[in-house]
Symmetry: C2
Subunit: 339 residues, 2 copies
DNA sequence: ATCGTTATCGGGAACGTTCCCAATTGGTGG
DNA sequence: CCACCAATTGGGAACGTTCCCGATAACGAT
């Protein structure tokens, strides 16, 4: 990649670099003939401006960092799709990192992205991140920051979420309406904001139906390997075993669906099933799965737009917003009524 | 992000930038006390070297570009996962672009990545790319290039593929062994190397079983919206309609599975079904889907390693390799025998 | 006392670009 | 004929690093 530079053009045409630079940017103070000469030569030699030199001078990279727990997760890959689309529309590049749900790796990678001078950072917390001081420090150093989905509650900036409380409420409400009374709630780490919100929606629905909340029906998952079977066993050893499962994340839906079937439980006869799930296969499953769908693409797109606004704003906005996109409840065979 | 620079340190400690630079790189010609002073001050002020300045000087960016048809596709998101892992291991960042299966956008984005000075490019062709001169030109300008999955046949460089011919042969062979005789082959654009290879594997299996090849059973898809129904209708209007479907890509499996079911065909009683598919839900479908699985993560990982080798090599290797990873055939309910 | 050596540091160019501040023309009005 | 202005161009600093060349001092050897 031995590239031609503005200097080469200047030398070849017996001009100064300033003149060439201005001609290329179509400045009014360059004569038409000179412009023509320069543009023609540049075209012929395949001149491409070096964005790195620009970055050094302007102290920005025209790229945004994206930090997600894992790429190979449907929700996140769809969100990244939205992010990439928004970034593309506005001429930015997307640099991707994953925390692998590890707090330590999140810290290291965020620092790495910052030192690479991304113009802003879009992120979704790892499930093991309780302390966000590394992000606060980043923000205090002036890095524009926008969170989506897995958001912290104690950092002030733009945030994009799906209506967690509302979605969970709708889901639990539906299960209760169809006669279920012992709804197991399988969810992520309790430290996450979305976990608490969804739990609250679940509780609200219980209250509406005068069903007491039972702590033992809630399982917080850390994605260990044997966790699924252990949790299912534990739940069905309860004096009042569950008659429905409500899973709170993409990553939990399939394993528990499969786990229940493997254990011989019939869905929905023995247990109803309803999960947060973003894959377009839910209606092809056996039985078709009832789901809460998050607008993953839109969330990524919106979050990226907010970040780019933040980056391109001359100064800090007077107020940060939290965008709350609504989820969609789709009822299928896995949550058919009891009676 | 007002960052502290080496100059700031030099000024603060009354040293020259050269000395500070050397102290930070732990050069032997700097006295221990000076080193200590510099390191301590740098630490205290959160000094982070500016990689952009480095990039400008060294003419490399410590990042690799990845160009895929679409991110929100399971095969590709898993491959990207592998790429990210390999890049992370060797201290590189990953910049992602998608062609959206568009030839024009592929050209523009590849050029954009190149002008951003990625150190190398990892790519999978768009299905509408027949002419690869834009990539040849890139390569001739010295850009290290590695292809995976959707590879061109007329560019010499490292390539990583799954055993396309072998995988397709196994799949078709299985369908033939279980009594199927009219196997529809739903595949991608005929220009792609993988399309031709898979078709060849399909033909080889037919020949082994002395079943004549019928062109009308092969459908090349361009992912238009009404294409699925149109193709299914056309296939079942044939004098000898298909008794099996063999789909050749992730993106085709689910739509045709759903399309067949929607049209009222029973799987596997009326038609057997077997597809290239990388999602871990295939056994939860109704009926469980028989699949050819590609080692997506490994392919991405291997491709990235080859690219990084290419980047870090002092000179061109004397031979390029094409890595052929084997696929896995998993038989489930959707391809149970006819009789 | 002179010289070479070693240890330690500074000056300044270079990477590719932009932009501020001149410098050089040609022409025009007084 | 000179001052002045507009049009066009050039010079050089700056962005943050690295690295090539020197520069300085101390010191032992001759």
């Amino acid at each position: 990649m031995d590239n031609i530079t503005i200097k080469d053009i200047a030398k070849a045409l017996n001009l100064s670099t300033s003149t060439v630079s201005r001609a290329l940017r179509d400045s009014y103070e360059i004569s038409p003939e000179t412009k023509r000469m320069v543009l023609e030569y540049a075209e012929r030699m395949h001149y491409r401006p070096n964005p790195i030199a620009l970055s050094l001078k302007e102290n920005r990279s025209q790229s945004i960092g994206v930090m997600v727990p894992e790429i190979a997760n449907n929700y996140f890959s769809q969100a990244i799709n939205g992010i990439e689309a928004a970034a593309y529309e506005r001429g930015y590049h997307v640099v991707i990192s994953q925390s692998q749900e590890s707090y330590e790796r999140e810290i290291a990678e965020v620092e790495h992205l910052a030192s690479r001078r991304v113009d802003g950072l879009l992120m979704s917390l790892s499930s093991h991140t309780a302390d966000v001081s590394h992000l606060k420090s980043l923000q205090s150093r002036g890095m524009p920051l926008v969170f989506f989905d897995r958001i912290p509650s104690d950092i002030e900036t733009h945030k994009v979420i799906a209506d967690n409380k509302g979605g969970a409420f709708e889901a639990a409400d539906h299960l209760l309406e169809t006669g279920r009374r012992s709804i197991a709630h399988i969810t992520s780490q309790p430290g996450l904001f979305i976990t608490r919100e969804r739990l609250q929606g679940y509780k609200d629905a219980l209250q509406k139906h005068n069903v007491p909340f039972r702590e033992e029906l809630v399982k917080y998952c850390s994605y260990a390997s044997d966790e699924v079977e252990r949790n299912i066993d534990a739940l069905f050893s309860l004096p009042q075993p569950p008659d429905a499962f409500f899973t709170a994340s993409d990553r939990l839906a399939l394993p528990y669906y499969a786990g229940l079937k493997k254990r011989g439980f019939r869905i929905p006869e023995d247990v109803a099933f309803l999960g947060y799930f973003n894959l377009n296969v839910s209606d092809l499953l056996d039985p078709p799965m009832s789901v809460v769908v998050q607008p993953a693409f839109e969330m990524g797109h919106k979050a990226a737009e907010l970040l780019l606004d933040l980056i391109e704003a001359k100064q800090k906005p007077d107020a940060y917003q939290t965008v709350n996109l609504s989820t969609k409840l789709i009822i299928r065979g896995s949550s058919l009524g009891k009676e």
